[in-house]
């Protein structure tokens, strides 16, 4: 495969746009479950955020390879949902084993949320978007990485806000998920401010 300069540049642009203008969490609202439930502490959300960046980038690349080299030649494109999920599940299992071996502390901290990455819609969503948008391999890697970083940014911002929120007075009816959803909405609004940054993509 020839890597043209243009392709790398395009991958870079897609990456930046996935972080800011097309943030997978704040524009498409994918991956909300862990976003709301693991964002109580900055430390744990940083851990989960890195796990998501890693898994998202790797699964996007893996899924691109299986899609374009297995499903397309066999004309089995309609199977991509199942195939992507299997690949993601296997990969998360692998990461879990690796983490248990290398960083028991992070493994314990992430606890149930690590296996739950499997069913994090952001991961599957990114793989499906890459098919719909017909990205090339390099661009896909950029897109996966950018989506992961975007998700990471959103969750640590959320965790930071929620840590501050602990000491503030919130009306009873809004405590917990209520206020978290409102904050998510406001953050999404703020991110639309990036909309004009990358024109002519």
């Amino acid at each position: 495969m020839m890597l043209s300069e243009f392709e790398i540049w395009q991958g870079f642009v897609v990456c930046i746009s996935a972080v800011f203008t097309n943030n997978i969490l704040l524009t498409y609202f994918l991956g909300m479950c862990p976003f709301l439930s693991v964002s109580r502490e900055v430390k744990t959300s940083v851990g989960l955020g890195f796990a998501v960046i890693f898994v998202l980038t790797c699964t996007c690349a893996l899924n691109w390879l299986t899609y374009h080299h297995v499903l397309v030649p066999l004309e089995l494109e309609f199977f991509r949902f199942i195939l992507f999920i299997i690949t993601i599940a296997a990969f998360v299992q692998f990461v879990e084993m690796l983490l248990d071996r290398t960083s028991p502390l992070l493994y314990q901290k992430l606890g149930i949320f690590l296996p739950l990455i499997t069913v994090n819609c952001a991961i599957l969503g990114a793989s499906l978007f890459m098919v719909i948008r017909d990205y090339s391999f390099v661009v896909t890697i950029g897109y996966g990485l950018g989506s992961g970083i975007g998700w990471f940014l959103a969750i640590i911002a959320m965790a930071g806000i929620r840590q501050k929120l602990k000491n503030s007075r919130i009306p009873r009816g809004l405590q917990g998920p209520g206020i978290a959803l409102i904050i998510a909405g406001l953050m999404a609004l703020a991110f639309t401010g990036f909309a004009g940054v990358l024109q002519g993509r």
């Binding site: 299986t66 089995l76 199942i82 195939l83 084993m97």
Partner: protein, 367 residues
């Protein structure tokens, strides 16, 4: 059409199979920690297969660490000092560890995984913990709801323990829950009788283990006990002793008194025994016998509400009231309490008011 369906199924299955195979290979390399060496108290070294929790690894090596929850990380009893190799403190351990324990490397052993060579410290008394096969030799009714059980050891034939410790009795598989149930009972026997374990059990209505002991256990039956556990025992000072225990709480006190007689211990001792009614007093004759055989021992039975019909000329009222009235030199004394949590908490408050420092109050709460 059929061909395409077949092809689709074959492709997806083979991709699944390839991924599964990759995972198995990964697991073989990643989850395989190989043989690990555990150094215990800088004396003994055992080589084990890594990968499981420290608690279960030690249990497999026949080293029993007390654990009430069976390794689920909810009781925090299986704490051990792990000097080297345990890795960072895990969030699941934090609730069980005091600041001082954290700095001295105490860990919850069911949460620590054996990944590499470890250096651990096990309190020496835990090494004597074993499982004992026993035969129920005698059941004596002490009161309407309290019985004394005598078990003769079959295998191993003798037991060494410190008077005041307890054993866990294994109740055979419960029909309802299908689980084996362990319950702790203090030994009441004379520690000189090394082939016997005696205990005093009070019926807990609805309790799995006491119901078994009271309704199903017969003389001649075989039971399994493991132990000894616990750190409720006599200190090695010469301070006068105050024992406070009612009901089945007499068990460890009785064992301690036997031991004091055997060793010719001359410490001054007073035992306040609380009961609701006169008919709930038991083993009074034995206690009177201890009074004559021990150097300076006094048994003070206290009855809360003596019936009109029962002639009672001893102390009346709550046991804590009797202690307040009777105990003269409280600040010099050491107190040993045994019984239910309500009685213990009340007694600790009264003893502190009387001037006994908290560090001189020892207790065994029956919970």
């Amino acid at each position: 059409m059929i061909l395409q369906i077949m092809l689709a199924v074959a492709v997806i299955s083979s991709i699944g199979a390839v991924l599964a195979a990759l995972l198995t290979v990964a697991e073989y390399f990643l989850a395989n920690y190989g043989p690990c060496e555990i150094t215990i108290n800088d004396q003994r070294e055992i080589t084990v297969q890594g990968g499981s929790s420290l608690l279960s690894t030690l249990t497999a090596e026949k080293i029993f660490i007390p654990s009430a929850c069976g390794g689920r990380g909810t009781c925090g009893l299986c704490k051990l000092k792990v000097a080297e190799g345990a890795g960072p403190l895990l969030p699941t351990e934090e609730p069980f560890l005091e600041e001082q324990e954290r700095t001295s490397n105490v860990r919850v052993s069911c949460q620590v995984k054996v990944r590499n060579d470890l250096r651990i410290e096990i309190p020496p008394e835990l090494f004597s913990i074993r499982e004992y096969r026993c035969r129920c030799a005698e059941i004596i009714d002490l009161t309407h709801d309290t019985k004394q059980f005598r078990f003769e050891l079959i295998e191993p034939e003798t037991i060494d323990y410190i008077p005041g410790q307890y054993m866990q009795l294994l109740t055979p598989v419960d029909e309802k829950s299908g689980e084996e149930v362990y319950r702790a009972y203090s030994m009441s026997s004379d520690p000189a009788e090394k082939n016997v374990i005696e205990t005093i059990i009070r019926l807990v209505p609805g309790g799995i283990c006491t119901t078994y002991c009271f309704e199903y256990l017969k003389v001649g039956d075989e039971v399994k006990l493991n132990g000894p556990y616990g750190d409720f025992w006599l200190s090695e000072t010469n301070a006068p002793i105050v024992f406070i225990a009612g009901g089945s709480g007499m068990a460890p006190i009785k064992s301690i008194l036997h031991h004091m007689r055997n060793t010719g211990n001359k410490r001054k001792a007073t035992y306040y025994f609380g009961a609701n009614k006169v008919e709930e007093l038991f083993l009074v004759d034995l206690m009177r016998q201890f009074e004559s055989e021990l150097a300076d021992f006094r048994f003070v039975p206290v009855v809360a509400v003596p019936d009109e019909s029962e002639k009672w000329d001893g102390e009346a009222g709550l046991v804590t009231e009797a202690v307040t009235r009777d105990l003269k030199n409280a600040p010099e004394c050491e107190a040993y309490l045994c019984g239910g949590p309500g009685m213990i908490d009340a007694a600790i408050n009264v003893l502190k008011e009387l001037g006994i420092g908290e560090e001189r109050i020892y207790y065994d709460k029956f919970e």
